[in-house]
């Protein structure tokens, strides 16, 4: 196979899927029902991306126990975010809890 052709084809497909709506610009208007549906996209996408990373960090079984540092770090981040509503603090304390827990388990 010609890998350069393969890669450039992939590039074209990717750019078209990424930029399609941006390129059509304000000529597209979404009906209210679709807009309402799209309002749920961010929360669903981000949650769908991180839940498997937290609950099944080794891409095998679900690890719903205290020896899972991803779970501890995520719970701390959620608690901090609920309490202080500060994104930077959420990231810093969540990461700190994760690394501290990993170190403590070793």
């Amino acid at each position: 196979m010609n890998y350069t052709v393969m890669i450039l084809g992939m590039a074209l497909i990717t750019v078209l899927t990424k930029a399609s709506f941006f390129l059509l610009g304000d000529r597209v208007t979404f009906p209210p029902a679709l807009q309402r549906a799209l309002a749920f996209v961010p929360v669903t996408v981000l949650t769908a991306l991180i839940v498997p990373m937290v609950l099944a960090p080794h891409e095998q079984g679900v690890e719903l126990h205290w020896r899972n540092p991803q779970l501890i770090g995520a719970l701390v981040a959620i608690a901090v975010c609920l309490r202080w509503r500060n994104q930077l603090l959420t990231i810093v304390l969540g990461l700190a809890a994760y690394f501290a827990w990993r170190a403590a388990l070793l």
């Binding site: 890998y3 709506f21 749920f40 996209v41 669903t44 769908a48 839940v51 937290v54 891409e59 981040a77």
Partner: protein, 237 residues
């Protein structure tokens, strides 16, 4: 955020955790690309032109499995479909920009920059320099990805244990900081719970099918809960 320059720098700053989170994946991709049937420079060519981590990693796997060109292109399309959802979601905020801005920002869109921009537009729905902030986020992600891919290509074989560093956890806590404040409304909470559950159940499905279905199921649950809430309110009134 008073000048284009300060908006650009704030976009870079708010993307920093994502830059850290993407680093191990860039190196892993570079390493795998070197180990495949492709030539050494193909790894960097793919990062520079395709610029979509999941598709790139899957393509390397398909090349190793001797998949046909058509299958590789079809898979690329399916795996990247979620980006069409992202650009549809962000469109109202960029529709007024000139074509070259929309084309450039669209081509540079990623999961990470989408997350950062959702947070940004929530705080600043009307800001005249938001496209510079967008460029700061997307541009720094792009340069970051190229650098780490190149490092992976050059030194990949020397770093076999990258996945165990756990730096991708920076992405998890960042997403939590964006999602949790939005869960005050019940439809959003239901949408998130549904999406999370389906993503967990479908995490082994090929071609990110579980992720795509999780998004659809979550949106459907949210729309259903929203419609139900509105009906109750109307009846009460």
């Amino acid at each position: 955020m008073h000048t284009p320059r300060s908006a650009l720098l704030e976009g870079v700053r708010d993307t920093l955790p994502m830059l850290v989170g993407a680093a191990p994946f860039g190196m892993i991709f570079g390493t795998l690309a070197v180990g495949s049937a492709m030539q050494i420079w193909h790894g960097s060519l793919m990062s520079a032109t395709v610029y979509a981590g999941s598709s790139q990693l899957i393509a390397v796997g398909l090349v190793a499995g001797h998949a046909s060109l058509l299958l590789i292109w079809l898979t690329t399309f399916v795996v990247n479909l979620r980006h069409a959802l992202y650009s549809a979601t962000l469109l109202p905020h960029v529709a007024h920009l000139p074509l070259r801005w929309r084309a450039g920002l669209g081509a540079l869109l990623t999961d990470e920059t989408f997350a950062v921009m959702v947070g940004h537009y929530r705080l600043h729905p009307q800001h005249s320099h938001s496209h510079w902030y967008f460029l700061g986020s997307a541009g720094s992600m792009y340069l970051n990805w190229q650098s780490w891919t190149l490092l992976g290509v050059l030194f990949g074989a020397a770093f076999p244990a990258l996945q165990q560093w756990g730096l991708d956890f920076a992405m998890v806590v960042t997403f939590i900081g964006i999602v949790v404040p939005q869960l005050k409304q019940r439809p959003q909470l239901l949408a998130a719970l549904t999406a999370g559950a389906v993503a967990l159940l479908g995490r082994h499905w090929p071609y990110k099918g579980g992720l795509m279905l999780a998004i659809l199921a979550g949106v459907a649950a949210g729309v259903w809960a929203h419609a139900r809430t509105s009906t109750v309110v109307q009846e009460a009134a």
